[in-house]
Symmetry: C2
Amino acid sequence: MDAFFNRLEHYARLSAPARSRIENAVHQTRHYQPRTALIRQGDRLGRIFVLEQGWAIRKKELEDGRRQILNFLVPGDIFDLQALINSPADHGVETITPCQVRSFETAAFIDAAGTDFTILSSLWWATVQEEAILREQIVRVGRMTAIERIAHLILELQRRTRIAGLGHARGGAALPITRGQIADALGLSPVHVSRTITVMRRMGLIATDHVLEILDPESLVSVAGFDDHYLHLDASPLPADLFSRQKPMTAGL
Amino acid sequence: MDAFFNRLEHYARLSAPARSRIENAVHQTRHYQPRTALIRQGDRLGRIFVLEQGWAIRKKELEDGRRQILNFLVPGDIFDLQALINSPADHGVETITPCQVRSFETAAFIDAAGTDFTILSSLWWATVQEEAILREQIVRVGRMTAIERIAHLILELQRRTRIAGLGHARGGAALPITRGQIADALGLSPVHVSRTITVMRRMGLIATDHVLEILDPESLVSVAGFDDHYLHLDASPLPADLFSRQKPMTAGL
DNA sequence: CGCGTATTTGAATGAGGTCAAACTGAGTGG
DNA sequence: CCACTCAGTTTGACCTCATTCAAATACGCG
């Protein structure tokens, strides 16, 4: 449970009982090869999943094959809390590296969240953060140049892998993503991504010996106009009394 | 409370007590001129707001003035449930027409949601829908041509205004948005939006006598490749027993 | 009327796309 | 160990969709 606990504890310290509640909600753990569909568009989801190891993507595809990567999933990420609504998935999730995925019984998961405030609080933070990432993605794709988009995405992934407990302290995040994936995430062509990355390499911003690495974080931030505020890295626990006046959830039923 | 109730009841029928709980949570109602900032990036939010009348936008701005509209807000939309976390807003909200906005005490609002399952369920649906809209926005901006983006956005707004109880039964949604706003939403220049809309008008898809109106919904859908599934228009209530096994929320504190 | 804002149209420019070919590197099988 | 394959990357040449700049036009509104 390392990645998941690690993630939740980024937002709030979990008590021992809280941890065991979560552990008890686990349904199973599976391994997947790269390029495996974890959720297909149209699926009705009965479970909640957590990515424990590896990288995955959320994606949507158009009729004619055009593909848009909505977001990258890194260890500790949850998909999908919105499984609670019994509605077909409006997008797909697919592994891009070998992955370890844990699944939870929805009801048990909700029990755990509902009975422990720190869990609920952390889950809410995770949701807020994911939405913020989607919004920033819109800005990248809508209003940034190619080099800005790429630099910005690299920095976001570096921050996120740091939270996930991967990646090194400074610069050196190693991102296992291809030019084609970057292109599909940023609304560019693979060819242009390649060209732009070559430029960035020549500028000394990054290195690309097999995986992408950050060499000059400061300059990269400046190229991207990157402000990591939207990631809420300084997440503080919700005020502990936020729900305290609340009656039991079942009161209204 | 028309727009808000109307919206919530799109997802689940509200009981009379549920309605009055919501009504009691209202803090105040205010009117705003167009181009008024409702939330400024960096604000810490103490309230939850509902747009009762008029249109607004969520937006982010880059240092050099480039602007990205993340989403349009129509009557019945909530901003922001994420106010629960006491964190500075990572984006702004601004009126684009005269607006009526209702604000809620966060605690009272949570009380209402926590004590009534239908309210909670509807709020969750609204959150899921908003996230889906953000994802679709990424696809538009990342992978669609100018005419596809515009047609797609028009159709989304038409569907959403229909939920909001505005707009007419078929085609005729009247959208009070300018070329410049469309451009900032879709990552285009106002000039090109103007050109493209001219083309669409000549194709008989839309009319633009002061407000934008849909003339030929079917062709527009085909031009946009529009599949309204992501809007979850067929929202059904959450399974009523979803939370029923749950212990009181305070149990873990 | 006169001012500010939005829209339209034209002409020139440019960022990024497409097509195509060469190159790299990690398997994999002979 | 080498040949072969397959996926990813790089580079060049050309093209196109959308941007920019600029000027003209329309539209409230005081």
